[in-house]
Amino acid sequence: MIRYVTSGAMALIAGMLLGSGFVQPASAQGTGSATLDATRTRGQLLCGTSGQVPGFSLPDSQGVMRGLDADTCRAVTAAALGDVAKVKFVPTTTQNRFTALQSGEVDMLSRSTTWTLGREGNLGLMFAWVNYYDGTGFLVKKSSGVTAAKQMDGATICVQPGTSTELAINDFYRQNNMKFTPILIQDLSELQSAFLSGRCDAYSTDASALATFRFSQGPKAADLVLLPDIISKEPLGVMVRKGDDKWFDVVRWTFIAMVTAEEKGVTSSNVDSFMTSTDPDIRRLLGIEGDLGKALGLDPKWAYNVIKQVGNFGEMWDRNITPMGVPRGINNLWTKGGLQYAPPMR
């Protein structure tokens, strides 16, 4: 585990020490994006995920990675390489995720990571888009009788180290003049078992992850209560390295294409019927007219591939998050009272 935690940092340092421009493969001609060229040469897109969070990325009984984050990786793979099967999921921890991306171990990071100024300013990384608008919540045991976060003065709280949750709880307790004892365990399953065994009074992380964790407890879910308080804003996004703006565009617009598809009602099952559509927005989206794909350095059919193979944003949500019993809420389209708003694709 310790090896796991520091390996990313070590890889980064080794890269920094030895490599010269180690994340940029030597490719003079091509798309103008070193990362895109590298994925094409490799025939594979390396996507950093958690691999431990139900609803976001967790292998199913067949070993296939399932979840919103996993499907986001697939969508970018479909856009960049034309085939979702060319994605490779790289497990990362909360602590080694940034170094994994910085050092070039992964091409992108889709790992329920909160978009903050500090991370964009200091890490040499940037957020392409938000795939889940979340907030920090608390999960407690029903037997504790707690019904609101403000009743938790003096509580012991289980948190993963290196997360923005850590800082959010700290701010919350500071504002309310309360005290708490943190229990910080790196490994998620160890942390969750510490909470279930009663070592902590509460388990805190993004409310989405709490809901899916509670759901995964099966019949015992009834003993756990998700407090109504959401104490912070946690826009979870997809990250790429700075310095490869073309690749940033590919990742960002892949996501926007999925939201646009939902706005227009284009789904994986009916996308073929839209090939004869007269709506100029849809025609541009599907590459029937215009050259949006060329602008990104991609195939004209890039968005068609994404929608056909992965689906639109709503489908991705219904497939992964709805079964966990989480309402769409602010993650709905702007036309339905949510925050997902696709800039025009023209």
Partner: protein
């Protein structure tokens, strides 16, 4: 050396004629100079290349560098700290210092306990008692064969199996020691400045006792009769602290732990994370120390045992006064490596949530993005601690070696 003896090296005639340096490969002096220049040059250029390349890459990646983050307000919560810490006002530097102290807390106590346990088990392996010998042999073989990480997780899981705070195990006289999955709660003396002064008086008494016993030893060497040490020691160790304590108002207040709200408030705590880590490290390292002690004892020639027995000494006295002092010389060097191992293994604390330097530095490097600086801090800390242990043990080793006749 008497005054009329001259140092032969100073007599000019005997000094070898000074040869001038020839610029020829056949001149050994020339060769050695060339080689040294080449080696230093290679090392310097590798170092320059690595530093230069790192800087280039960091700039290319637009990653901020430097140790400026140490002064920034940390904002990371820390569960267990020996010094005052408030994430809202204290800096990353202080958070890292707490990490260092937490590492030392487990390393120092771990080394002491592992030495005691390991020595007992090592002696036990040589016991004539079949059961003791077999049990200790079983202990050593089992503990050494299971990875430490697994052992730590095992102990942590065991401690989590304890009752919850509300149904804590009350193992005590009047309900003041509690055992629960929140840790061991014990009553704690409310610390007043007076107690500090009393402690100082006690330390002074300790020093006095040491002087007195030196004096006794000298008198014993001169006259053969040893003046009694214990009445003086007792007087010096007890009277001054008590007098100081009484003179300053004799404050004595015990802070009892009590269940309030979620958890026990008041009293002192040994957290399950710390306890599991300490337990795991001590039990694991003791297995190795036991083998070192056993081999050390067996390295003492049998003749020493026989001679001591011939003098009429009992088994315990032979072990304590004849064999162990000699075994010590064999034991110290490998023991140093075990102490270093224990200290470095304490970094496995991350797995069970004890916040040592690795844990806090990892969180810091994650929140600030200063990976290279963070890893450098961890390396510097372990290097400093390890070198200190090595230096102390080397000094002690030399000290022991002097006693050898």
């Amino acid at each position: 050396m008497s005054d009329n003896t001259a140092d032969p090296r100073l007599i000019g005639a005997r000094v070898a004629p000074k040869r001038s340096l020839r610029f020829s490969w056949s001149d050994p002096l020339f060769r050695s100079i060339v080689w040294q220049i080449v080696i230093v040059g290679v090392v310097v250029s590798i170092a320059w290349y690595l530093i230069h390349n790192t800087n280039e890459n960091l700039t290319a990646r637009r990653i901020a560098t430097g140790f400026g983050f140490l002064d920034r307000v940390a904002g990371i919560p820390i569960g267990e700290s020996m010094i005052d810490y408030n994430p809202a006002e204290h800096s990353y530097g202080r958070a890292l210092l707490i990490g260092v102290l937490n590492t030392l807390k487990v390393a120092v106590i771990g080394v002491v306990l592992a030495t005691i346990l390991g020595t007992l088990i090592g002696i036990g392996r040589l016991s004539k008692n079949w059961l003791v010998a077999q049990l200790t042999a079983f202990y050593v073989e089992t503990i050494r064969d299971i990875p430490l990480l697994l052992q730590l997780l095992f102990w942590y899981t065991v401690l989590q199996g304890l009752p919850t705070a509300r149904q804590a195990w009350d193992r005590n006289v009047n309900g003041s020691v509690f055992l629960s999955n929140r840790g061991i709660k014990v009553p704690l003396l409310v610390w007043e400045p007076v107690h500090g002064w009393a402690l100082l008086a006690f330390t002074a008494g300790l020093f006095g006792t040491w002087l007195w016993s030196r004096r006794s030893r000298r008198i014993q060497a001169e006259t053969g009769a040893r003046p009694a040490t214990w009445p003086v020691a007792l007087g010096l160790l007890i009277v001054p602290p008590v007098v100081v304590w009484l003179a300053l108002g004799a404050p004595f207040q015990i802070d009892y732990p009590a269940l309030r709200g979620f958890n026990f408030q008041g009293g002192g705590t040994v957290s399950p994370e710390y306890f599991a880590l300490l337990l795991g490290l001590v039990i694991y390292t003791a297995g190795y120390i036991a083998e070192i002690v056993r081999s050390g004892i067996q390295a003492v020639p049998n003749g020493q045992w026989e001679a001591a027995r011939a003098l009429g000494l009992r088994h315990g006295a032979i072990l304590r006064q004849v064999v162990l002092p000699q075994a010590l010389r064999v034991v110290i060097p490998p023991m140093t490596s075990q102490y270093l191992n224990l200290t470095k293994n304490s970094s496995l604390a991350v797995a069970i949530g004890y916040q040592d330097i690795v844990s806090i530095a990892n969180t810091t490097l994650n929140q600030t993005g200063q990976a290279i600086e963070g890893i450098a801090v961890i390396m510097a800390v372990y290097l400093t601690i390890s070198l200190s242990i090595s230096l102390f043990m080397n000094w002690y080793n030399a000290h022991i070696a002097l006693v050898e006749r």
